[in-house]
């Protein structure tokens, strides 16, 4: 035990001596949680649109005014002819064009019907269909204004919508738990995976292995400083997300911390495994950053709904630890559920940690090639 402690002390010195890395270790999660917590949103706002108005009458002007007033649209330009639409799309920023045909208002008044053309830049299909929906709700409200007060058919079904857990529909509620999972996982994996390979690459591993200390302990003592650093990071991240980003903590704080430490341990074990497999720091980095960054981002489930993915990919998503952590954090922090609601996810995360740790310890070679 005394030996172990002195090894841990050595590792701490290593970590704290390298000021630049240390600064990054603490600065990185903070900067990222702040940046992404405030900046990321799936809402669609301020979309640039162009209008081509052949009608120039009261109705077209009224609808254009409504468009200008809405938060979703940002009227970029009024075009004179149809031909200009393609050029403005090709220049990039404009996402939608609306064409009012000549006689728009008089058709509406006399024929009871008129057509409005909406051309969407569907290279982003999701935005395109959402924007088209916004336009149709704007014209519908205009229609209702025209229709006057008395509805000729008095059978109105209304719907009251209650947004549960996030009544203001803030983007942070969704993104903060996701970014927490991402940052905690990647930082831990990256740091541990590199630190052991580094000793291999610089030759000091030989020295450690010939010491009377048990080789497995050598490895474990490497993980301890990163565990401590990550717990400090976790505390900072939680404080920031509650006090600055306004995230609720509805459930037990202790449970959140416990589950987060479980994720950290899983990540450290994964880092150990990578460092056992990799021969050089470059290889370790490629595995932990190149190999993991995008998959973790996508399969955690905060960017794209997992249930939309094809079945094989849904199965892949099950082996991503951050997916389970994300579910847990959402349940505890936002929904305020207790342990009984998340024991399954916890069990999965726990088994992952045990499995990864035992594989990496079993694969650890005490002889270097």
């Amino acid at each position: 035990m005394k030996q172990f402690l002195s090894f841990v002390r050595k590792e701490f010195l290593h970590v704290f001596r390298d000021r630049k890395t240390l600064l990054l270790l603490f600065g990185l999660p903070v900067a990222q949680i702040l940046l992404f917590g405030f900046a990321l949103t799936n809402e669609i706002k301020n979309t640039k649109i162009v209008v081509c108005d052949y009608a120039h009458d009261g109705a077209s002007r009224a609808i254009i005014q409504k468009l200008e007033a809405s938060a979703q649209f940002d009227l970029e330009e009024v075009l004179l002819s149809h031909e200009q639409i393609e050029t403005s799309f090709k220049k990039g920023k404009v996402k939608l064009a609306i064409v009012f045909p000549p006689h728009f208002e008089s058709d509406l008044q006399h024929l009871g019907k008129s057509k409005l053309q909406v051309i969407a830049d569907a290279s982003d299909p999701n935005t395109a269909s959402t924007l088209t929906n916004y336009i149709s709700s704007i014209t519908r409200s205009y229609q209702q204004e025209l229709g006057g007060v008395g509805d000729p058919y008095p059978m109105q079904i209304e719907s009251q919508v209650r947004m549960i857990y996030n009544p203001e529909l803030k983007g942070t509620t969704n993104f903060v738990p996701g970014v927490m999972a991402l940052v905690l996982l990647l930082v831990c994996v990256l740091m541990t995976s590199v630190s052991i390979v580094r000793e291999k690459e610089s030759g000091t591993m030989e020295v450690l292995l010939v010491s009377p200390f048990h080789p497995l302990m050598v490895i474990l003592s490497k993980a301890v400083p990163y565990l401590v650093v990550s717990i400090v990071n976790l505390a900072v991240i939680l404080l920031l997300s509650v006090y600055l980003l306004g995230m609720p903590v509805k459930g037990s704080l202790l449970l959140i911390i416990g589950e987060s430490i479980l994720l950290i341990i899983t990540a450290l074990s994964l880092g150990l495994l990578i460092s056992n497999v990799a021969a050089s720091q470059q290889a370790a980095m490629l595995m932990s950053l190149m190999g993991m960054m995008l998959p973790t981002m996508l399969f955690t489930g905060f960017m794209f709904p997992l249930e939309n993915m094809p079945l094989p990919l849904q199965l892949i998503s099950n082996i991503i630890p951050s997916k389970w952590y994300y579910i847990i954090i959402k349940s505890v922090m936002i929904k305020g559920l207790g342990f009984s609601a998340i024991w399954k996810e916890t069990l999965i995360l726990f088994s992952m940690a045990i499995l990864l740790l035992s594989i990496s310890l079993a694969r650890f070679k005490t002889r270097l090639a």
């Binding site: 990054l24 090709k90 229709g147 919508v161 857990y165 980095m285 709904p305």
Partner: protein
């Protein structure tokens, strides 16, 4: 010039000698390019719905039939009370609860007005909005139909019909949008990581000293490092776009390929310059890596690939505008999907040239031949 030739020879040999790394930098991005666009599907479908039907009339049943027939919703459970349905929302088994009050049909006919309650799990605000909107549309359509059924349509109704046209991606395939963007991210990651690590590695194992004592000029040394990774970037991009993009996803670039490659060339110079800059500020590979990780993560999430830049707060939009990746993603999408050419890209070229000169200039200025 001859110095550069020998330096390049050395660098290429070092890259090709390490088969494990070589395989990783080629295979990993390509496998991800095949798999990940399938995962990035934002079309909102499969919304799980729980219905609390306290009315059990022909009206309420017809409404529920319409909702399930629409294709977006999967009926999860049909319950009698809200209390019974709420645990489903809590455990994510249902995304949405629709409550139909008792006497729904009777009151609608008698009093001409009735209201339904929708309770939506709004943690993911967008999904909640879209789901509620779909459901509202179905309810309104149903409303119109029963009105028409009960009364003959009155004269003088005014209708604005919307004719919507989808340009550039008429089949609305989300993969068309994601593949070019993900390809850009993968190429960026490989170039930035490899370049920043490579030079620091020479520092860490000490071989940089040997080069420093030779008469090799620092420009040549840096060029010798940049050119190999530049070619790897170009090869990766081409394979990704013309092999995987073409044969796996059926994407055929519409615009000017020459313009695309000119931009790629410039972009890679900028990104490699950035990698170089990181390497001049770090002494160990660990430092280089954490710096690269920090910035690449920002480049990724602020690139406009996953969330729209226009929707960000103003200060965040400025961060996104100072991110070279966001420009390249935009350019690739413009050229590949919309058919843009040199004419439309003038401003983009200018900005990227600025990045390239800025990063490389800074890096060369900061690079010291003495430690």
């Amino acid at each position: 010039m001859r110095t550069l030739k020998y330096l390049l020879q050395k660098e290429y040999r070092q890259i090709f000698r390490n088969k494990i790394i070589l395989r990783m930098i080629i295979a990993m991005p390509m496998i991800q390019l095949i798999i990940l666009p399938l995962a990035a599907d934002y079309e909102i479908k499969n919304i799980n719905i729980a219905v609390v039907d306290q009315d059990r009339s022909s009206f309420s049943r017809e409404l529920v039939n319409r909702i399930t027939a629409a294709g977006y919703f999967r009926l999860q459970q049909y319950t009698h009370s809200y209390e019974e349905a709420f645990p489903l929302l809590e455990s994510d088994k249902a995304d949405l609860i629709l409550e139909i009050p008792s006497r729904f049909e009777k009151d609608l006919v008698r009093e001409g007005k009735q209201s339904l309650l929708l309770a939506v799990n709004a943690i993911n605000g967008t999904k909640a909005m879209v789901g509620a909107n779909y459901l509202n549309r179905i309810i309104q359509d149903y409303n119109t139909d029963i009105k028409v059924e009960w009364k003959t349509p009155a004269m003088g109704a005014k209708m604005i019909e919307i004719e919507s046209v989808n340009w550039f991606n008429p089949h609305m395939k989300y993969a068309f949008f994601m593949v070019p963007g993900i390809l850009v991210l993968l190429v960026t990651m490989i170039s930035a990581y490899m370049c920043s690590m490579n030079i620091v590695r020479e520092k860490e194992i000490g071989t940089i000293e040997q080069i420093n004592v030779t008469p090799v000029k620092k420009q040549y040394f840096i060029l010798g490092k940049l050119i190999p990774f530049w070619t790897i970037g170009v090869v990766l991009f081409s394979v990704g776009l013309f092999v995987i993009g073409r044969f796996v996803y059926g994407i055929v670039p519409l615009g000017n390929i020459l313009a695309l490659y000119a931009y790629l060339a410039l972009f890679l110079i900028a990104v490699l310059g950035f990698g170089l800059l990181i390497s001049t500020y770090s002494n160990t590979q660990q430092q280089a890596m954490s710096l690269a990780f920090f910035f690449v993560m920002i480049f990724l999430l602020m690139s406009g690939l996953f969330t729209s830049i226009d929707s960000m707060p103003t200060w965040a939009r400025w961060v996104a505008y100072s991110n070279p990746v966001s420009y390249f993603i935009e350019v690739v999408r413009m050229v590949v999907l919309k058919g843009s050419g040199f004419g439309e890209l003038g401003q983009h070229f200018l900005v990227m040239a600025g990045f390239a000169v800025g990063f490389n200039g800074w890096a060369v200025w900061n690079y010291r031949k003495v430690s």
